[in-house]
């Protein structure tokens, strides 16, 4: 195989993979703190994408500027989902009724409502935002690099660093980490656990508000976009180890490169079959992820 094409595939894979990692950050954060797998994660992303699309068609707001709207919107959405729908389950769980699948079922319900709600409002048509620089690229060592993807990947890195710093050095961040470590001990030291959960869910969703806007310039949207991204995020999180921020980025880049290189040899759909195989293999061999601790 031509080394230049392979090089190009790898670079593209890293860029796209960085974005995958960034999208998965919220899923990983929410699981790390709440122990809830948010099945609606991809749907939140899809919602953010439609929000930026709507802003662009209705008011002509550039998706990147639309972040100012989509981030608070998604934060509110995540906060609401946790506070209204999932919180009652946690209240029951304190009464020692353990229902490990309950939260997964609830978020599956949320997934059905969002995906089909969007399908009902916008219809099944493929939509896209065409901005002038969508196909713009810079060339590094005679290899073209797509600018929106580069921006997406760099933002993922920036958000990951910012999130890690915020979790480490602020009061809210500390209380989130404390709750993740031990919910009851955190509650005893005066942390309002319920509120921490709501905020964590909100932040996990707010990150998707950024990526929805970043993806729209080069990715067309349909109501099923969410599910495919959701499944990819599970894959990323499992690869990198659930709850780990660097693991999420690493898992994303691994998946991105894997998909991109594999699709040089087989069709893109067959490549997605391979990523499912990768997912199963990792779960069975290293269920704690590549960076996860035993």
């Amino acid at each position: 195989m031509d080394p230049i094409i392979l090089m190009y595939a790898i670079i593209n894979g890293v860029l796209l993979g960085g974005i995958y990692g960034g999208v998965a950050l919220g899923l990983s954060l929410i699981f790390g703190v709440l122990r809830v797998i948010n099945f609606a994660h991809g749907s939140f992303l899809m919602l953010a994408m439609y929000a930026s699309y709507a802003l662009w068609t209705a008011f002509g707001i550039h998706p990147y500027a639309g972040v100012l709207v989509t981030v608070p919107l998604l934060f509110a959405f995540g906060y609401f989902t946790q506070a209204v729908i999932i919180a009652p389950l946690f209240k029951r769980e304190t009464a020692l009724v353990v229902e490990p699948l309950g939260a997964l079922l609830l978020t599956t319900g949320v997934f059905l409502v969002i995906d089909n709600g969007v399908l009902m409002t916008f219809g099944p048509d493929v939509r896209s935002v065409s901005t002038e620089f969508a196909s713009g690229s810079i060339s590094v060592m005679s290899l073209p690099i797509n600018i929106p993807r580069l921006i997406g990947c760099l933002s993922a890195l920036l958000i990951a660093v910012g999130l890690a710093y915020w979790l480490r050095h602020t009061d809210t961040g500390r209380s989130i980490r404390a709750t993740a470590q031990n919910r009851d001990a955190a509650a005893l030291s005066g942390i309002h656990v319920g509120k921490v959960y709501n905020i964590t869910f909100g932040i996990g969703a707010a990150i998707l508000g950024v990526f929805g806007a970043l993806l729209v310039p080069f990715l067309s949207i349909t109501p099923t976009t969410g599910l495919s991204f959701g499944i990819k995020s599970f894959l990323v999180v499992v690869l990198g180890g659930i709850g780990s921020i660097p693991g999420s980025l690493l898992g994303g880049i691994l998946l991105g490169v894997f998909e991109s290189v594999a699709s040089q040899f087989v069709t893109a759909t067959s490549a997605s079959v391979f990523s499912f195989c990768l997912f199963i293999a990792v779960l069975l061999v290293r269920p704690n992820g590549l960076l996860g601790r035993k």
Binding site: L105, G109, V273
Partner: protein, 330 residues
Amino acid sequence: MNLKTKNATATLGLPLLAITAVVPLVVKDAYTLHSLTMIIYFAYMASAWNFVCGYVGQMSLGHSVFAGVSGYVTVLLFTGTGLSPWGGMLLGGCMAAVLSTFIGYPTFKLKGPYFTLTTIAFAEIVRIWLENTDEFMGIPLKGAQGLVVPPSPLGWQVFQFDGKVAYYYIALALLIVMLAATIALERSRLGYYLKAIRGDRNGAEALGINPTRYSLVALSISAFMTGLGGAFYAQFFRYINPERNMGLDLSIDTAIMSIVGGQGTVLGPVLGALILHPLAELTRSYLGGRFLGLHLIIYGVVLIVAVLYFPKGVIVPLERWLQRSGKSKR
């Protein structure tokens, strides 16, 4: 199974069964019969799902693959070799059971959401492969286009009938077999093992129950039954494609019906199908074209409400109510 719930199953199930058996004598409208057959079909599929997932306490969202594989085997054998769909159905069910063992053996080691996600991954692999394969080793699979059951002279041998009544009774017969199997499971050693695994996996293992082994036995029976359902669906519609017969939607539908109705009970899944499928039919027939996906929104909301307020399924308060009214009469 204790005496109380047994009574409740009988007081709820037998009248329901009697009504279902005579409906086609009264109802002649083809559309209504078609809808009723679909309710029975979904009750059957949800019960088959419940047979393993409800009793072991693991949620599979990959059951559609069993239905799909068996449906394809049936149709392909009929078009390719002229084998009667009845034989194809059994062979397809066996194929599904074998496939389920391959999927289940590694997957049952995983717990909770990990199990669920892996079952989705397995089903998606088969579906995506099938959707993009037009021909495999000389077998025309026709990819996303799907397969049509070729028309032939009607009759029992070819599983093609005039009107809906025959299909209705076949679905009902399947459901009765499934429910009988579930009742037998409740009373059998296997049933107790499965419940022990659901209650405390490690505890069950300490008592000498091999969780993977017994879960696999239940899974292969469940997959076989799901396979029969998939073959029935293929014959009923005379058409199958990977999206409808193997997609995530089918898995989610059957799982939700079972969970809303009450998993790990005999009649829970039937009740779930009885509540949910008519909702889907009504929204589709009255609002269908205008509100795409509305019935799935309703499914989502019902699922959320059920998980929050009836964590053991709608059947539990219903049975309690039946018992109370039974007592007050005496």
